[in-house]
Each structure stands twice: as structure tokens, then as C-alpha cells.
Amino acid sequence: MSKTVDQWFMDTVLPLEAELERFLARHWSDASEVRDLRQEVYSRLYKAAANGLPHNTRALMYSTARNLIIDLVRRKRVVSIETVMDFESWDVSSEEAGPFETVSARQELSMLRTALETLPRRTRDIVQMRRVQGMSQRDTAHALGVSEPTVERHVSKGVRLLADALAKLGVHRGAVISPANDREGERER
């Protein structure tokens, strides 16, 4: 079961990350907490899906995000007013995106390359040797004349930066991206 849920999470939830973070940033005034909120939404989604995979992941994601914000607001005396204010106008169904576009293998590759280029040089070299050249961490360490723990540290750093960069680019493999028809954003302008 957990394998199915893991797969659903990777294929269906993760591609929505940029969209989810935009939504949270719009409705939560403290930008530094958006990642924590996103993480909590992920956990709640995962727990919900463990009891049965949802039919519409995007709709579930938005209502989960909304409920999380409502929970947090209720728990606090000092209210993030905009969030409460927007309860009335939050029509979760309106968040459903329009036409989707599948990312081609070539686009995917060029996005990966862009993400890779955002890494600091040392980290990028090591990620490149591991993933592009297919060298082991040990061989990478030998080739660069650094210790294995150093390589391991760069891999850890590299994967974090890559995950963020890829999320920012808004697409995951074989997944869909929504074009820039961000209705919510327009409404606010």
C-alpha cells in the first residue's frame, strides 16, 4: 500500500509544489513559514491518501491548504486577517487549473540542466560526476582528491538545492504543468 501512495505522491503531488507555494504565500503573510506550511500540507495529504487515493489531487491539495490555514488562524489570538477575510472568497474549485501541458523529454532535460546550473560550482561538479558520469561517491572523492564525507556532504546539499530548483521550475518528469493562467493572482490585482 505505502508503495502506491509513495508513487502517487511523487507523480501527482510533487508536480504541484510551485503552485501550492504560490497559494500559501498569497494567503499567509509570513513568507518564511511558507515552506513549513507546504510541508504540513504534504503530510496531511499523505495521511489522507493512505486511506484511499483521491480522485482529484489538486482539489484535495487546495482544500487541505485552506483548512490548515484556518486551523492555524483559529489557534492564534493574533489573527492573520487576510486569511480569514478570504474564507468567503475562497472557492477551491476555482483553483483548478485549465489546460495542461505535458513536458517533453527534451524540455525536461533542459530544465534539469538549468536547475543544475544554479548549484554552487563544487556541489555541481560532484552532482554531475555522480549523476551524469555515473561515478560512485568513492570514485568521485578520488577523482577530486577530497574525502568521501566531503562528497557525501555535497550530495546532500546538491539534492536539496536541486529539489528546490526543480520545484521552482514547476515541473516534474512525465508530469503536467499548468500554463500561466493564474486566476487568483489576477483577481487580486
Binding site: 505522491f9 513559514e33 507546504r38 499523505y46 489557534r75 551524469v132 562528497v151 546532500s156 536539496r160 529539489a163
Partner: protein, 336 residues
Amino acid sequence: MNAEHALLSADDAEQAAADWLARLDRDGLLNGPVDVDALCDARHDFDVWLNAEVAHRVAFLRAATAWSRAERLAALRTNGAIPRRPILHRPVIQMLAAAACIAMAALVVIPLGLFDGAPGQPAPLHYQTARGEIKTLTLEDGSVLTLNTDTSVDVIFSDDERQVALIEGEVFFDVAKAPERPFLINAGEGQVRVLGTSFGIERRQNVVEVAVSEGTVWIGSSAHADMSESILMPGMIGYASVSGVMVETSGVEAVGQRLLWREGRLSFDDTPLREVAAEFNRYNTIQLVITDDVTGDIEIGGTFRLDNVEAFARLANQGLGLDVSHAPGRIELSSK
């Protein structure tokens, strides 16, 4: 506004997930598609960590997905090395530093009585906005002025100087660089001189407030032209009044919040309701009235649309439990 007591830190979970990934990768366990169950079977300590919190699992899945996608980069191997972009950071920083030096070097005492109408000076161009109106103008030098609600300015450009008089209200300046042609702003109690930069300036009753988002700005008090002045860097807010200039280092983020009105929004952080009401009242004909001190002292935070005072009042009712009563042209808020 913080939610620490309710939320796990994403940073902690993501760092731990990345560390686990690097460790599993070191041991050669991460080749091929992500199979968390198999990893748990292979490493008991990983199993324990992963299943301690759902947050751990989702963070690991996120990292493992990125790592596994990166494997596709191997397709580039036949195409030779990955082209590198030139590293831009250093030159940019140097350029900015150079610009700052120019700005500093150009600091001279501002002539008082800027608008006393030197002979042969062109007539000022006048611009203004009504209550609730926000307007953007592009001047002939390419500088862009965003006028906030109830604002009035005069613009006089000559060959060697660009002058703006802020008669009332608030303006965000995005000043085009032209070192040979300084940009001067006269706002009564405060005067500002810049070469090319972005900042907001508001003239209130007795004080002029300057919030800098980019570049370097000289601010001086007109009452103490020779002794009271300051250089403002990004993230600083300067206040000029008859008693001099005061500078607050608020950070670039706070300055950004302070300037959110340009997007039609207001942002507050633990701000007393009476100040929030005063801010809203600048933009709306319907005035928010706080009837008692207890209500006025309630601190709120958040970001709001500045033109939606009705919704704000509804929220004060639902979210804060305040009494809201409507009268013509005003909405009264009071504690029950």
C-alpha cells in the same frame, strides 16, 4: 503570526532527508527507481527515521524524486560537457558597490529653497491623485513615479537637475541613473538627493518618511540643513522632521512590506488596530472608526487588499469577535 508551535520545521525534515539520501547513495542503494520499502528493508535505522513522522517520509520522497530525475542528466554525457553560464555574482556586486561610491561622492549640501523659482526655470508640471487612486507616471528621463492615494507633486526638470516637490502624500520613486543630473526631492521637513535608485517617500503631518529598496539615498532635515542628515542604504527607513533625521534599519523585507501599497495591498505585523484603521482610512471614503482604547490596542498582522474595507470589517467581526456597526460613510468597531 508564527506557527512554530503547530508546525514541524520543513528545513529540519528536508535537511535530514537529504542527509539520508546522501548516505544511502554512498552505500550504492539509490540506483534505479525510488523504492522506499526496499530501502527500509536494507537499512533498519533508515526505516526507524522514515516512519517516525509522515513529514520525514514526504521530505524523503521529495529529495529522492529530485535525485532520481537528475539521473536523466546522464543523457547529456554524449553531448560533452554541460555548458556553464558565466558566474555573474561578483561583477554585479562590484558594479553595485561602484554605484554606491558614486552616490556617496556626490553628496553635497542641498540648496535650501529649491523651488523658489530661479529665473529661466521651466514651469513645474503638476500631478495628483484622488483618495484611493494609485497612479504611475514615467518622466522624460525614464524615472518612474508611483503616486499613492491623495498625493500631489510638482516636477521641474532642467539640464543639470531633476527636481520633484512632494506637496502631500506618498510616492515611490524609481529614479533613472544620470550621475551628471542629480535628482532632488523636496518634501517640506525632509529633503532627499539621489542619483539612481528606488525608494518610497511619504510626507505626513510633521514627518517625512523615506524607505529605501535599492541604491543609496541622502536624506536631510530642512530645519537642520547643516547638521542633520543621513545616508540610507537598502532596508533602511529614514524619518526627517523639524527635530532632525532618525534612521531605522528595518531590513529589505520590511521595506518591501512598507511599499506593498503599489500592488494595492497593505501589510501589518503586530500593528495596533487603531493604526491599521488609519492606514485603511487613507484609501477609502468609508472610514473605519475605533470606538474604544481596548479595541484600538488589539494587535493584528496580515496582508490585506487596501480597497476592501467592508471585508476587513467582516473579518474583524468573525476573526476577532469585534462588534461592527455600519453608519453612513463609516464603520465602527468596538469590543463586545
